[in-house]
């Protein structure tokens, strides 16, 4: 066991994947000498060479499209998108090529591309640096979408993503890059699945589902609710496409109440998918309609207002009150 920050854990996972497979190459803007704007690839170009850690021209479609060509050639490219809001120029290549080439070629051509995306807000950045675009990708068949919430998962799941023969979007909660945690660097990534959700905190009254940057917030909310006599079960989805609905369903069958929280905008978001799927699967076990606590349907706001937009502990607790039918901010509006 070693103590690593979230960012260093990704770095260690990348290093191990590159050690294990010479076909693993990294591509992105500023990832070489600089080590990336968040230093996630720090030292890798020095140790593995510029032919395996490629600083690319500043063109996201170009990076993604050439990664497709590299994959055709038998490589396993790991692409860094510098910030969430910079992924859109690459959107066409991701949706029309990366996601579909395996289907198009009837399985003849695999696209083992990992797309690393620092995402989410809370770091005081200007426009385009704090977005949560995951639902665009969970809606696209052919892609797998995951998001680790702690250093151990960051370390393990980056290796699982790289070894996947399907393309994987790996969403990194950038405001947690400096969180420290214990990491077992000897652990075997193949011994677990990146698509299994994890019960973070067991509870019996309310199921609180989240992922990525809000997992620590949800855990804190569960502690606070416990102080108030409410037992909250927190589930870290880890995988956003596909979602491990079996784990969520088993929890909701127990608690009868579901709250979902994410930073991304509400309408058409993952919260809607989770609420609908769980309602379909175990409607008669629900004591209340599922409740969503999410970012608003707005462009990501300027930083002095971002903490109004981002769900925090109190907004999550308000959602817990709503699903329990206790007095809450919307009392009197709901019926």
């Amino acid at each position: 066991m070693s103590t690593l920050t979230f960012g260093r854990a990704i770095n260690a996972g990348l290093r191990r994947a590159m050690d294990n497979d010479p076909k693993v190459i990294l591509m992105g803007e500023d990832i070489g000498k600089l080590g990336g704007v968040f230093r996630i690839t720090d030292g890798l170009q020095k140790d593995f060479g510029a032919h395996r850690v490629l600083d690319t021209p500043l063109a996201e479609a170009g990076i993604m499209g050439t990664a497709v060509g590299m994959a055709y050639r038998g490589y396993r490219p790991v692409v860094e998108i510098q910030f969430d809001g910079f992924i859109y120029p690459a959107f066409d290549q991701i949706v029309c090529q990366v996601a579909k080439i395996h289907y198009r070629t009837q399985g003849a051509v695999k696209m083992p591309i990992t797309i690393r995306v620092p995402f989410g807000g809370g770091i005081g950045s200007p426009e385009h640096h704090s977005e949560s675009p995951e639902a665009y990708f969970t809606h696209t068949s052919g892609l797998r979408v995951i998001s680790p919430s702690n250093p151990q998962d960051a370390y393990t799941m980056i290796q699982q993503a790289i070894s996947s023969d399907d393309p994987v979007l790996y969403f990194e909660p950038k405001r947690r890059y400096h969180v420290k945690g214990e990491v077992d660097e000897g652990s075997d990534p193949a011994a677990s699945s990146m698509e299994k959700a994890r019960v973070v905190t067991e509870g019996s009254d309310v199921t609180l589902v989240t992922y990525g940057p809000l997992v620590p917030t949800a855990r804190d909310a569960a502690v606070a609710a416990g102080d108030d006599g409410v037992s909250v079960e927190v589930i870290d989805l880890r995988s956003l496409a596909p979602i491990d609905f079996e784990t969520v369903e088993a929890s909701v069958r127990k608690t009868g109440r579901l709250v979902i929280t994410h930073e991304a905008a509400q309408s058409g978001g993952l919260g809607a998918e989770i609420a609908a799927s769980i309602t379909e699967r175990c409607f008669y076990h629900l004591e209340h309609a599922p409740v969503r606590v999410t970012g608003f349907d707005i462009p990501y706001p300027y930083s002095k207002l971002e903490f109004h937009h981002l769900p925090d502990l109190d907004r999550i607790l308000d959602g817990v009150d709503r699903v329990l039918g206790r007095p809450n901010s919307l009392s009197g509006l709901e019926r």
Partner: protein, 379 residues
């Protein structure tokens, strides 16, 4: 508004005038081109006859496929009529370990790569989302997103570089694609990494209904040097010239000289696809002008001047084309229908819980009809 003017700019994108590499004139006369003659010195009479046969065969494939579409056997077909020389000349220059990333109109290139004829029809009959295993013939299946494949070829070429190999990636696209960001970004990447890739642009003058003057205000080949990529403008209806310039670009790429951009000036004599109607936007005179530069006719005239176009030869070529057309038709009509459950196949390479559930539910739904059918039958 000013398109006419753009097209009439001397040397402009619509003008097959100055700067064109040509080895055989429209009248079939072999003209010296010192910088390129040596590159095709090995092309003797028999090789020229082979190139001619290729062009006749792919034109026959094209007309047969168009007929199959008219007869309701294909949903759509994108003809290459008029572009045989550009595709055969370049396609025959390649080595088997080179890798092609093309658009949907390069059926003659696929033919050169040794594609199973039935495979080129699968997608147009709606029986598959593409036709072949790309690794079987080292050619990606046709790209429909305009220009996207230029990046794939460049990335593949970057992989070749990493491998220390001397293969070359070749991407085919049209004049319309040169307006796409992907093609321009591909040239940036190719130049920066000195990737062994050939950008083979068939300027066929039309992007569906849009004339080339809407895509480019200067000859398309002029753009590449701005990226640091040498370019050449070739008579795309001259199969020998297309072979020569492609060989030159391949040699450059194999020896570490990086990318080349080739603009093959040709003409789409047919519609964009069988769903198109060029009479709505194209002057009949223009078609006549280009018919006079037909790539097959000029090689016929040239072979004739060499005494290589006798009845025995033409009969043999016709027999081959007829046999290929018959094979194509039989392959089309005999194509097995896909099974309903195939709709779920190959979305992922390993099981996916969301899709597995949907497939399970759909199969239950389908089998609910089977139950009612069998109970009807037994009653």
């Amino acid at each position: 508004m000013a398109l006419k003017n753009i097209e009439s700019v001397p040397g402009g994108p619509g003008e097959p005038g100055s700067g064109l590499i040509q080895l055989i004139t429209a009248d079939g006369v072999r003209v010296p081109e010192p910088a390129y003659d040596a590159l095709v010195a090995d092309i003797d009479g028999a090789a020229l006859q082979g190139l001619y046969e290729d062009m006749v065969v792919v034109r026959r494939i094209d007309s047969e496929a168009t007929a199959l579409q008219r007869q309701g056997e294909l949903a759509l077909w994108p003809p290459l009529l008029g572009q045989e020389a550009a595709q055969i000349g370049s396609g025959r220059a390649l080595r088997s370990d080179d890798f092609v990333f093309s658009s949907y109109r390069e059926n003659a290139v696929a033919y050169c790569r040794g594609v199973d004829l039935t495979d080129i029809l699968r997608v147009w009959r709606g029986n598959a989302s593409s036709g072949w295993d790309p690794y079987a013939i080292n050619m990606a299946t046709p790209q429909v997103i305009i220009g996207a494949q230029a990046l794939h070829a460049t990335g593949y070429a970057m992989g070749i570089l990493n491998d220390g190999d001397d293969a070359v990636a070749v991407t085919y696209f049209g004049d319309g694609a040169t307006s796409q960001g992907d093609v321009n970004e591909a040239m940036v990447f190719a130049a920066s990494f000195q990737a062994p890739v050939i950008f083979f642009c068939q300027n066929n003058h039309w992007a569906i209904s849009e004339p080339v003057g809407l895509q480019a205000h200067v000859p398309i080949a002029n753009r590449a040097p701005g990226f640091g990529i040498p370019s050449v403008r070739v008579d795309g209806n001259d199969v020998l010239a297309c072979l020569a310039v492609t060989r030159q670009a391949l040699a450059r790429a194999r020896s570490g000289g990086g990318p080349t951009f080739i603009e093959a000036v040709t003409y789409r004599m047919g519609p964009h696809t069988t769903a198109d109607d060029p009479t709505r936007y194209r002057d009949a005179n223009e078609l006549e002008d280009w018919a006079a530069k037909d790539p097959l006719k000029r090689l016929e005239a040239h072979l004739d001047s060499l005494g290589l176009f006798d009845e025995a030869f033409t009969a043999a070529v016709k027999a081959k084309a007829d046999a290929v057309a018959a094979e194509l038709r039989a392959g089309c009509l005999g194509m097995p229908e896909p099974a309903p459950s195939d709709v779920f196949k190959h979305v992922y390479s390993t099981p996916n819980s969301w899709l597995d559930r949907q497939q399970d539910h759909y199969e239950r739904y389908l089998s609910s009809f089977a139950d009612s059918a069998s109970s009807d039958g037994s009653s």
